[in-house]
């Protein structure tokens, strides 16, 4: 930078109330216009990959909760499916459908938070309050299924620790009855709202070509016009049994990202409803004695169950040598797990492909030439989750 210009350096963050997390951006400003930006990340880096190398497989699950904490069940289930892929375990249809229900509920909460926060950042707090009540309903479903709300640690390698209770099913049904009305109301507030449209259309755009080059996935890539969705291209967990639409945008701007997420919410509701209506009979877990903890009543009364319990907890279990890459469609895009096993009790190497980490690189390019208030909106519409960014 030469001395004869009038650029100002502005530190946006690390703890700025408008950025919903710990993100530092050093902006070079010409008045209100952004000339350049540089991000600093790593403020909540917790070395998950190193910790995972010292933990047995089932103990890695709580680490995955803490990546994208807006949709923890997707992370948990994605990890379980990675281990199942390494072990060659085939799950039952009931497990698959239960997983779809929970993953789609998680996607709903993730998108609700993201879209309502776009509203908040453009000055419309009302919609945020409306949809947060619905997020609360989903958290109550999580609570009923797994016992936890935010860091769910949901499911087990091979299925679930228990079946859906009657109350859980009742809660899911009641949620499905409520949510479409709330979405209608929410959309009425924002989608054709002149102020919202003026604030979001053409803000923080990215072309399809650049988005692909930057490794965008998920709603952000689809808003730019590329219909890539892991649920469709590489169906996992019986997603191929269902019929759903992949919405795409055209401009790749904030408004398109908002609309794509909004449409995906509707598709997720459809998926949850279909999966719940067609929930097959069967077992809620498959037989993976080396990894699936036996029920407690058997541990206390049967010798064999006690032995298995000990073997699993102490990690004295055979694991095939090999490497797998498994990815699921997370709230933000392709959430990948690259797992290398050397046959030991812990992963030899585990790498998380975290969509936020990869697409947040494009942020300076997207906000360059815009104004500061647009930069805030662009960040919230990209849905950068600090936990996922820093792992």
């Amino acid at each position: 930078m030469t001395e004869d210009n009038n650029y100002t350096t502005l530190n946006l963050g690390p703890t700025h109330p408008a950025t919903h997390g710990i993100f530092q951006n050093v902006l070079t400003m010409d008045g209100e216009k952004i000339i350049d930006a540089e991000q600093t990340i790593g403020y909540i880096h917790r070395a998950f990959e190193k910790i995972a190398e010292h933990r047995p497989y089932y103990q890695v699950t709580p680490l995955t909760d803490r990546m994208n904490y807006c949709s923890s069940p997707i992370n948990n289930i994605g990890w379980h499916m990675t281990v199942e892929k390494l072990l060659g375990v085939k799950t039952t249809k009931r497990v698959d459908y239960m997983r779809i229900i929970l993953m789609e509920l998680a996607r709903i909460t993730d998108h609700l938070v993201c879209n309502s926060v776009i509203g908040v950042d453009s000055g419309a707090l009302t919609g945020f309050i409306y949809v947060f009540q619905e997020r609360e309903r989903v958290y109550e479903i999580y609570e009923e299924v797994s016992g936890a709300r935010l860091t769910t640690n949901m499911g087990r390698i091979g299925g679930f620790e228990r079946d859906f209770s009657k109350l859980a099913i009742k809660k899911i049904k009641s949620f499905l009855d409520h949510i479409p009305k709330v979405l209608d109301e929410f959309e009425k507030l924002l989608v054709r709202n002149r102020i919202f449209m003026d604030r979001t259309i053409g803000v923080g755009p990215i072309s399809a070509e650049r988005a692909l080059n930057y490794g965008f996935t998920g709603p952000n890539l689809r808003a730019a016009g590329i219909d890539y969705d892991v649920r469709v291209t590489t169906p996992y967990s019986s997603y191929d049994d269902f019929d759903f639409i992949i919405p795409v945008g055209t401009q790749g701007d904030t408004y398109d990202r908002f609309c794509v997420r909004q449409q995906e919410l509707r598709e997720s509701i459809k998926l949850v409803r279909n999966a719940l209506d067609n929930l097959p009979e069967g077992d809620f877990h498959v037989d993976v004695p080396h990894f699936y903890l036996p029920p407690k009543e058997e541990v206390y009364s049967k010798m064999e169950a006690l032995i298995w319990h000990f073997k699993i907890v102490m990690g004295e279990i055979p694991v095939p040598v090999g490497e797998v890459y498994h990815s699921v469609e997370g709230g933000n895009g392709e959430l990948g797990f690259y797992l290398v096993s050397d046959g030991g009790r812990t992963p030899f190497r585990l790498h998380f492909r975290r969509p936020s980490f990869i697409y947040y690189q494009a942020y300076p390019e997207m906000i360059r030439g815009g104004v500061l208030s647009d930069a805030i909106l662009t960040m919230s519409s990209m849905n950068v989750i600090a936990g996922e960014l820093d792992a």
């Binding site: 880096h45 930057y214 490794g215 291209t233 890459y325 990948g336 990869i358 690189q361």
Partner: protein, 164 residues
């Protein structure tokens, strides 16, 4: 597009530099020697037939017992035909430098910085190769196997009380 075609294309151009080919894994896995890695990735991306236009993932790995202990693993994806490929390359600890692929994929920028941060692999030609998740004054590469999980300089924990 099947594996045979990819293998054929790669062999035709790189021959000797293809060290290992494994189509038995979940994804076709190819190990190449490190001087050609940039050209391999370029061919995979820019070839009309192959068209691996998406860099899904790039990460490091450390096998302390091997002659070439430090590795870089690339996952590429052809979105049109939905084919994935895994490319690996290995370097020595004394000279851990390979060519960057940031000129081909903007996505590689932070992924390579992360790999440098944790494994100390130097990507030559990278526009801004500095630490990304760890603090800048850190003087070791924490995901290498020789570094223990816990801070070895800690004095407040007595190993006798933890069964060690």
């Amino acid at each position: 597009m099947d594996n045979a075609l990819i293998i054929d294309r790669l062999y035709k151009t790189f021959g000797q530099d293809i060290l290992k080919m494994d189509s038995g894994a979940d994804i076709l896995t190819v190990t190449v020697s490190h001087p050609v890695i940039h050209e391999v990735i370029r061919l995979l991306k820019e070839d009309d037939v192959l068209g691996f236009t998406m860099l899904t993932d790039l990460c490091g790995i450390h096998y302390p017992d091997r002659g070439l202990p430090l590795g870089v693993v690339y996952h590429l994806h052809n979105l049109v035909e939905n084919v994935r490929i895994r490319i690996k390359t290995f370097v020595t600890k004394a000279e851990p430098s390979i060519s960057t692929v940031t000129d081909l994929f903007s996505a590689a920028n932070w992924m390579e910085r992360e790999t440098y941060d944790f494994y100390g692999i130097l990507f030559t030609g990278h526009p801004n190769l500095k630490r990304i998740l760890n603090v800048e004054y850190m003087d070791f590469f924490p995901l290498r196997k020789e570094y223990p999980l816990e801070d070895p300089t800690r004095e407040d924990k007595d190993n006798r009380f933890f069964g060690r």
